[in-house]
Symmetry: C2
Subunit: 357 residues, 2 copies
């Protein structure tokens, strides 16, 4: 990272740093892959929650962005005039949210997903009186077993339901694939598409997503669009899975050693309220750059415990940089991240965090 | 909870609710125990981060509050004229923090902890030029193996170091006890106190803390003060340990069912960005009130997965209330909590959250 030692010293800790050069390279790498596989890119902004990062993704070739919540979409649209095409990959339920969705739909090209007639009927009852119809995709379960209809037949039935619902336009199919699930995506979506087309309804978009599987997105050629999120920053979970290296991790947590109470133990000022308790199947709560011998074996809220089989060789006041297990949840913990562009760090407010709804 | 069904319906989800009647009862219960054991109470505000809750604790008899960060202390002092005695149970390291600590020390009775000469010397070099000296307690490791000196002899040596440091006053000993660690606290502190007094130095305060062990605080009678945090809200970890019941949990997360994709599975709009991934040794991510059959077995960022061996018997749009595993980290996720006083809910800004330093 080109951040100067002097700049680093001036940042108080704990602090979340984002290296813009690495983020740009990460964006470019997947955009090139997607271009070569004729896939559109619609990055998920949950990872950064920053209009400026979405602008970089759009400038690189993304067709729009993905959000998980109305509040994220509102903050993005408010924060950048470049953001005018948003897919919210969520079942929107409840009167308050539907009214906000309707207002947002007046401003931009907006689409959402649904996996039940209850959700579709709620969307229709709101958008039948809107000037612009809402595009709705059917969420499909291709093995992740979270939301989504269980079969291509159900997907086709919901597509027809959307197609006939006042105020709505059928937009296609959406899935979040399981690890190694390209074949399952290809099989499910091919059948669902055929069933819908047999009813005389077009399927404009088949959108899949997820950074862990993104470099195999081309193995499900029925897919037209991909929605990676974490790829812009990367994190320890992706390094440990072999998806990237430590040098590809744009987001790090800068922390200070506040105690060295034993030869093999040091305590830093970043705990679960900074690094979070997300494990993503890993052991330990992050990777200390340059110190493969250290494990972050325990977090309390504002303390992280570093242990080593070797002498810990740190002193009070030393600083360490940590690649967290999961970048997306770490940006959500802080009001501001320190964005480093070249050698110059600057605080940038995380516009879309903290808005629960 | 006396919250009316109509009030509940008007709150959008996910939302963090705090029942003030339950919080008041929780405060009163421990204050009564402490009074009967001649223990002073200095609640840790990390759990609520709200000046209004600290005021309730002080009104019930607390002698001051505990914070974990300077930013928390600043927000508390700014937010309430009643808060004028603050202990920050943290090694304060680094020039920026020391200057903020010095400014805070001009306004209130301030104390901090230290477990090394490096930290003490940093505090002294800052406070030797301050009008008011800073009170410093020695942090002791009584078995939790986080921060703290390892032996009573080291504790006594640091006490003497503080006693001779310009700008500092030795304030006593502090520990965060391990589970079932009352005997260890009693043994460590009794010896440390004797060693310091043998040097002709008084030990004004011996402060221990932690909700899990609070109802046994009297088993370490050398202790003069106790610092529970979670007790004001309680949470699933405390219920599962037998420390309280579900009716004693003041903090709940209100969530909406957004998908029922299978007979035994439902998805709610609260995930790891609301409930957090904190497990605290438990299985699953929270307890659905009134539904002992349900486990929250998986969280993604904005989705929680509910599974049951029985039919899940929920429909899209239904609402559930969840007691999270760990209350302290949930308040830290949100800009506002909904405080319910009687039947009337009102949004209250979580003043001390998001300030990392």
């Amino acid at each position: 990272m080109p951040l100067s030692a002097e700049s680093l010293r001036q940042i108080d800790t704990p602090s979340v740093l984002v290296d813009l050069d690495i983020a740009r390279a990460n964006i470019a790498r997947f955009q090139a892959y997607a271009d070569s596989h004729r896939l559109k890119v619609r990055p998920h902004i949950k990872t950064h929650k920053l209009p400026m990062m979405a602008e970089l993704q759009l400038a690189a070739g993304a067709v729009g962005i993905t959000c998980q919540k109305i509040s994220e979409a509102e903050a993005m649209v408010e924060g950048s005039a470049a953001i005018r095409d948003v897919l919210i990959t969520y079942n929107i339920v409840g009167e308050q949210k539907l009214l906000r969705l309707k207002a947002l739909g007046q401003k931009i090209a907006l689409s959402v997903v649904a996996d039940s007639t209850t959700v579709i009927d709620g969307l229709s009852s709101t958008f039948r009186t809107a000037g612009e119809p809402l595009t709705v995709l059917v969420e499909c379960n291709t093995g992740a077993n979270r939301c989504g209809v269980a079969s291509p037949a159900e997907a086709a039935a919901l597509a027809a339901h959307i197609d006939q619902a006042p105020g709505l336009i059928f937009g296609g199919f959406m899935t979040y694939p399981p690890a190694g699930g390209e074949a399952a995506v290809q099989a499910f979506m091919t059948e669902a598409k055929a069933r819908v087309e047999a009813r005389g309804i077009a399927v404009p978009v088949i959108t899949s997503g997820g950074t862990p599987t993104m470099m195999k997105a081309g193995d499900a050629p029925v897919t037209t669009e991909y929605r990676p999120g974490t790829y812009i920053y990367n994190d320890r979970s992706l390094v440990e899975r072999g998806a990237c290296g430590w040098d590809d991790c744009a987001l790090t947590v800068l922390a200070t050693v506040v105690s060295v109470p034993a030869e093999n133990r040091a305590i830093i000022d970043a705990g679960s309220k900074t690094l979070t308790s997300d494990l993503l199947g890993l052991s330990g709560y992050g990777h200390v750059l340059g110190r493969d011998d250290i494990a972050i074996d325990q977090l309390s809220e504002e303390h992280g415990r570093l242990v080593s089989a070797l002498p810990i060789n740190l002193k009070v006041g030393d600083r360490v940089r940590i690649v967290p297990n999961h970048a997306c949840v770490v940006t959500n913990m802080v009001d501001c991240v320190m964005v480093v562009d070249g050698a110059k760090p600057g605080a940038v407010r995380v516009e879309a965090r903290g808005c629960l709804v």
